[in-house]
């Protein structure tokens, strides 16, 4: 049923497949050995999530203030932005000094300094606009 050529084309992925199988085997194996050989003694302390850690204050399934999510979202925004800024800085440096291999655009010519600057400027401008909007909207006022 399955085309043999499809199977053949999957060959480069053999190593990944073996790694996945090994990882599953290691995890399941460790649990199975612990389950089979380990002594079984119960008790309130033994059954708590952190046996040798902090005492449990309350259940984890409780309500969190919605503002935490807002902070998390804003953090994510700037986190991703930095990830994007780093390779951009490399490319800009290459374009400015002509040292490394330039970024090649679709049309075939190397991306110039101006193109990179304007592209990042647009992206950065939109992010800053989003921040300004959040600020004006009062997203940073915790007690509102």
């Amino acid at each position: 049923m399955v085309n043999p050529a499809v199977i053949a084309s999957l060959e480069p992925y053999t190593a990944i497949g073996v790694t996945i199988l090994l990882a599953i085997a290691a995890a399941v194996g460790a649990l199975a050995v612990a389950h089979g050989l380990g002594p079984k003694r119960g008790g309130p302390v033994k059954d708590s999530p952190y046996e040798s850690g902090m005492p449990i204050a309350q259940d984890t399934a409780r309500r969190f203030n919605l503002r935490f999510y807002l902070v998390a979202l804003l953090f994510l925004l700037f986190d991703v932005e930095v990830v994007f800024l780093w390779p951009w800085a490399q490319a800009y440096y290459a374009a400015a000094t002509g040292s490394a291999a330039p970024v090649v655009l679709d049309g075939g010519q190397a991306a110039g300094k101006g193109f990179l600057l304007i592209g990042m400027g647009l992206f950065f401008g939109l992010l800053v606009f989003g921040l300004a909007y959040e600020w004006l909207r009062g997203a940073f006022r915790w007690n509102q």
Partner: protein
């Protein structure tokens, strides 16, 4: 390749982008001196962008901006997207709570921006993000549209199913990237992804998987069977003016995306995919129309009608570019003609529901609309136009749209490999159009024939009435004078197939080409003038 050229080439998109940002800020209370500042700014933005798009005309240099292909399709979608968008803003003028109106209207603009970018996308990633730009604002729009728990439920339902559809789409595109060896659509061979690599090779299977997954993801946005289940609930839950947008933006973007992708396959779809699409088209029409017969809630009825119309458009999509003889042979032009016509008639029907209130909410059932003609004769007359247009009756553009779609299938040439199948599909379509008349006429009957006093009160504001007029008039005008729109649709259809600058997709056995290698070959071929 100066900055000025970039800005000119993308002027309508940039205007919409900055306009959307401005509208977002105008929602702020202390920046909003006059209450209608946000809707007015949104309307002006779209009008200016439409004017600029019209004046700049069809872009002359299609490959100016990396990742985009600016051609006739771009121009056509700019015109219809911005024009329908301006009407959408009119209809949504008083929607949402006043404090959230800036956010609300800017989401409409962002969604329209996504539609514009989908038409120009020349890169799989740009295509994915453009489709997401259409969808993500609609989740917000549904939730903001009215303060009812049903709107929240509809938004969450749409969001989770939409996220699943996007995952399918992205996964499918990753398969296509594997087959093509590039994300740029224009690099795919003239013979297409599938057929060049066909003949039992491994890549054919991958291309099929990729196209199937992409179609599944896009079918959700177009509400095609079997991905239509969400549509009635979401359309019913959202406020009627937003539902009008849901019938246009995601559907138009989905069809345009499929046009781009099928063009990359040179319209030579794999057998399995053709028959799957055939079944989907037939099932979508039939399920939509038959289930609509059972509805008493007008919004749900129109939701099923929206599903059925997706089926009609799929017929023309399967026909593809012109193969046969006769004036109606171009399936792509039929798709492009149907999209704005359907967008306006659907928007108009929902806008009419949004223009009235019963106990502070929209009238939804047929009983609640009964006898509306006595209370509001002018609005009822526009409803008549929309319903007859949806039905495909003269003197409305809906009739022409149906004629073009069915005509394209009937005049598919003998060169088309599935000529007979297309004719059968068109016959199913015609039968469905007849079934559909039964429930569309129930709306007209309720409004005009029932003598009960209607409890509907006119909703706030003149803009929505202006919007009703702006939906109804073009439908009548296009029927009388279809030349302009059909001319533009045909021209866009001719531009859908970028004729030059295509390279053989590298086979999987080759080492992955470095960007420099590809560009060197591109430059060499384009200067030497060799295919």
């Amino acid at each position: 390749m100066s900055l000025k050229a970039y800005i000119l080439a993308l002027a309508p998109e940039l205007i919409v982008l900055f306009g959307a940002c401005l509208v977002l800020l105008l929602g702020r209370r202390d920046l909003r001196r006059q209450p209608p500042a946000a809707p007015l700014a949104a309307f002006v933005t779209l009008s200016v962008a439409l004017g600029v798009a019209f004046l700049t005309g069809v872009p002359e240099e299609p490959r100016l901006v990396p990742g985009l292909w600016l051609g006739g399709l771009t121009f056509y979608i700019r015109l219809i997207g911005l024009a329908v968008g301006a009407v959408l803003v009119l209809v949504n003028w008083h929607q949402a709570v006043e404090d959230e109106r800036g956010e609300y209207l800017s989401m409409i603009l962002f969604s329209l921006l996504g539609v514009l970018l989908t038409a120009s996308a020349d890169d799989l990633l740009v295509l994915l993000f453009a489709l997401e730009l259409v969808s993500v604002p609609t989740y917000v729009l549904i939730a903001l549209s009215r303060s009812s728990h049903r709107a929240g439920e509809a938004a969450v339902k749409y969001f989770f199913l939409g996220a699943l559809a996007t995952a399918l789409l992205a996964y499918g595109l990753s398969f296509l990237y594997g087959v093509m060896g590039t994300t740029a659509l224009h690099r795919v061979t003239d013979a297409g992804v599938v057929s060049t690599l066909g003949g039992g090779s491994a890549l054919e299977t991958y291309a099929l998987i990729g196209l199937l997954l992409v179609f599944a993801g896009v079918a959700f946005k177009m509400a095609a069977v079997p991905f239509h289940v969400y549509a009635p609930d979401v359309y019913e839950g959202a406020a009627a003016p937003v539902t009008g947008l849901l019938g246009f933006a995601p559907k138009a973007a989905g069809f345009v995306a499929l046009l781009r992708l099928f063009d990359a396959c040179a319209w030579d779809l794999p057998q399995h995919l053709f028959w799957l699409l055939w079944i989907v088209a037939a099932a979508t029409m039939t399920v939509g129309n038959v289930v609509a017969l059972l509805q008493t809630n007008v919004k749900r009825m129109l939701a099923y009608s929206s599903i059925a119309h997706t089926g009609y458009i799929l017929i023309a999509l399967l026909v593809g570019p012109a193969t046969g003889e006769g004036p109606l042979r171009d399936g792509v032009a039929a798709v492009l003609f149907y999209l704005p016509v359907y967008g306006l008639m659907n928007l108009g029907a929902f806008a009419l529901i949004g223009a009235f209130r019963i106990d502070e909410r929209e009238p939804e059932t047929l009983d609640e609309l009964a006898g509306l003609a006595r209370r509001a004769p002018a609005e009822s007359l526009t409803l008549g136009v929309f319903v007859f247009s949806l039905m495909g009756f003269p003197p409305t553009a809906g009739m022409l749209a149906k004629v073009f779609v069915f005509g394209s299938a009937f005049s598919a040439g003998s060169a088309h490999p599935h000529r007979l199948a297309l004719i059968v599909l068109a016959v199913i379509g015609v039968a469905n159009a007849a079934i559909a008349a039964a429930y569309y006429l129930r709306i007209v009957t309720a409004v005009y024939m029932k003598n009960e006093g209607c409890r509907c009160l006119p909703a706030q504001g003149g803009p929505i009435r202006l919007g009703l007029l702006a939906c109804a008039l073009p439908l009548l005008l296009v029927f009388v004078w279809p030349g302009a729109l059909t001319h533009e649709a045909r021209r866009a259809s001719a531009h859908v197939h970028p004729p030059t600058l295509r390279l053989a997709a590298p086979a999987l056995t080759d080492p992955p080409p470095t960007p420099v290698a590809i560009t060197a070959r591109t430059v060499a071929t384009s200067t030497a003038g060799q295919p």
